[in-house]
């Protein structure tokens, strides 16, 4: 029977992993991710999860251990945050480039220095060129659902890429809400046995990632790009079948909130989209026709879906919770480039970088920022393209 229990975001991820039944988990503790693997080690200790828990001396080794186990045919999982994720970076590229299906939770925390444990999207978005499918949750239920779906997507022969699932530390990670957990037998039947493109099981000598000619390497990277394109339909398929079986479907790569008749579109990703949606309700009450397009999958980048939402907008406001210093927010850059694939006449697209380093942005803050921008557009003023809004200063 499905059950509903109060879970933190971290525990929601752990419960999803338990249902996916990985054979190998390797991780190194780091705030704010640690409760994910603490809970999993409890499951292993109690016998509820029959997995090998490998304790390692670093995140680099954690992902390397997962990679080795994955190539040997095991379903694997790891979780990390911030500096730990950066330390993994080399193996992150390895995992996708050898087409190893695997799942990792990234419990977001601002990149140091200075020392800071509050969440922004800097650690997650730093991995954007690594060839992983990248999903980001808005609440604990979605963190649970995305983690479970990540295994299905990763092991799909259409995809065969590693998948990372992001969620903000503390804001989701350490905050509890009711989470519905589907029945184990239903999940088993839906997820099925692990599939992967090849296996290194000792039956024959085999080298992985050895020296190749440039043309061969280029062919392999081209294959990753093709897989990313196919991942778009795989993600939508998994979202739809999950909805049918377990009652929750989110709409694919993006989630639209009050977009149907919207003249203004706010684009965001992650937990603070909840505050943004609240501010949209406040603005709607005052007659401002605005909706939210929330990015659930950042890679592959859903430019087609975003174009459908933004094509008739008077203006698009992007809320970026990370910045590529010297340019602008990563989502903004991808969105502008993506929309330009569909039109040479863009509506004004404005980037608002805010909430950096975990600064809290409330619904009232969103309300004030958006109202000011809409009024500018309505009165025929140029809204510019970029502003870093440091709230409460």
């Amino acid at each position: 029977m499905p059950m509903k229990i109060a879970l933190t975001g971290n525990y929601a991820v752990a419960y999803a992993v338990k249902l996916a039944k990985p054979q190998v988990i390797a991780a190194y503790p780091i705030t704010p991710q640690t409760p994910v693997v603490e809970k999993l080690s409890e499951f292993v200790e109690s016998g509820e999860l029959k997995a090998q828990m490998i304790r390692v001396e670093s995140e680099h080794s954690a992902l390397a251990a997962c990679l080795g186990a994955a190539l040997a045919g095991a379903r694997v999982f790891t979780a990390t945050s911030s500096q730990g994720l950066l330390y993994m970076h080399e193996i992150i590229h390895w995992a996708s480039r050898v087409r190893a299906p695997m799942v990792m939770a990234v419990v977001s925390r601002t990149i140091n220095a200075p020392w800071n444990i509050w969440p922004d999207h800097s650690d997650f978005l730093d991995q954007r060129d690594a060839g992983w499918v990248m999903a980001y949750a808005m609440d604990n239920q979605e963190a649970f659902d995305l983690t479970l779906q990540a295994f299905k997507i990763s092991e799909d022969p259409e995809v065969y890429l590693p998948v990372m699932v992001g969620l903000e530390g503390f804001v989701l990670g350490h905050t509890a809400m009711p989470v519905e957990i589907p029945d184990e037998k239903d999940v088993d039947a839906w997820l099925g046995e692990r599939r992967q493109p090849y296996v290194v099981d000792g039956s024959e000598p085999i080298g992985v990632g050895g020296l190749t000619w440039p043309e061969d390497t280029e062919d392999m990277f081209y294959g990753i790009q093709q897989a990313m394109e196919r991942a778009k339909s795989a993600i939508k398929r998994v979202d739809a079948e999950y909805g049918k079986l377990f009652g929750r479907s989110y709409g694919g790569l993006i989630q639209c909130y009050r977009c149907e008749d919207a003249k203004y579109i706010a684009v965001s990703m992650g937990a603070w989209s909840g505050e943004l949606m609240e501010s949209v309700n406040m603005l709607r009450d005052e007659g401002y026709p605005i909706g939210v397009a929330r990015i659930r999958f950042y890679r592959p980048f859903p430019h087609e879906d975003l174009w459908e939402v933004a094509r008739s907008a008077r203006a698009v406001f992007v809320f970026d919770r990370a910045i590529s210093f010297g340019s602008w927010g990563q989502i903004y850059a991808d969105l502008v480039a993506g929309l330009l694939l569909h039109t040479n006449k863009l509506p004004p697209v404005m980037d608002i970088v805010t909430g950096i380093a975990g600064v809290h942005v409330s619904a009232e803050d969103f309300y004030a920022m958006i109202k000011k921008l809409i009024e500018k557009v309505e009165s025929g003023h140029n809204i510019g393209y970029f502003e870093w809004v440091r709230v409460r200063r």
């Binding site: 045919g73 095991a74 480039r97 050898v98 087409r99 022969p157 259409e158 065969y160 046995e193 692990r194 599939r195 992967q196 493109p197 090849y198 296996v199 024959e204 000598p205 085999i206 080298g207 992985v208 990632g209 050895g210 190749t212 061969d216 390497t217 062919d219 392999m220 294959g223 093709q226 897989a227 196919r230």
Partner: protein, 93 residues
């Protein structure tokens, strides 16, 4: 359990499998010594086949190890890894 299913587009994956004589034919060039197998001692453990960097040793489960001298460079690794000292390095004639 795991099921091996190729990618839908049969995309290239970075795998390499050893082929005999991967380093090319040795010709007149070899170290001063070549490995010789004493088949009465060989236990068919396959270690020499696995370790041979030139991939020129084949272990038959019945007959034991055979070395293809066309490719053998005389590195001597097989002598080192053989647990029963069935392979010795002898001077070239």
């Amino acid at each position: 359990m795991v099921k091996v299913v190729p990618p839908v587009d049969n995309a290239k994956v970075p795998l390499t499998k050893p082929v005999e004589g991967v380093g090319g034919k040795t010709g007149l060039w070899r170290t001063m010594y070549k490995p010789v197998v004493d088949s009465s001692k060989c236990t068919k453990c396959f270690l020499c086949e696995i370790y041979c960097p030139g991939v020129c040793i084949v272990v038959d489960p019945v007959k034991g190890a055979t070395i293809n001298y066309d490719y053998c460079k005389g590195c001597g690794l097989c002598t080192d890894v053989c647990p029963v000292k069935a392979i010795s390095m002898v001077p070239e004639e």
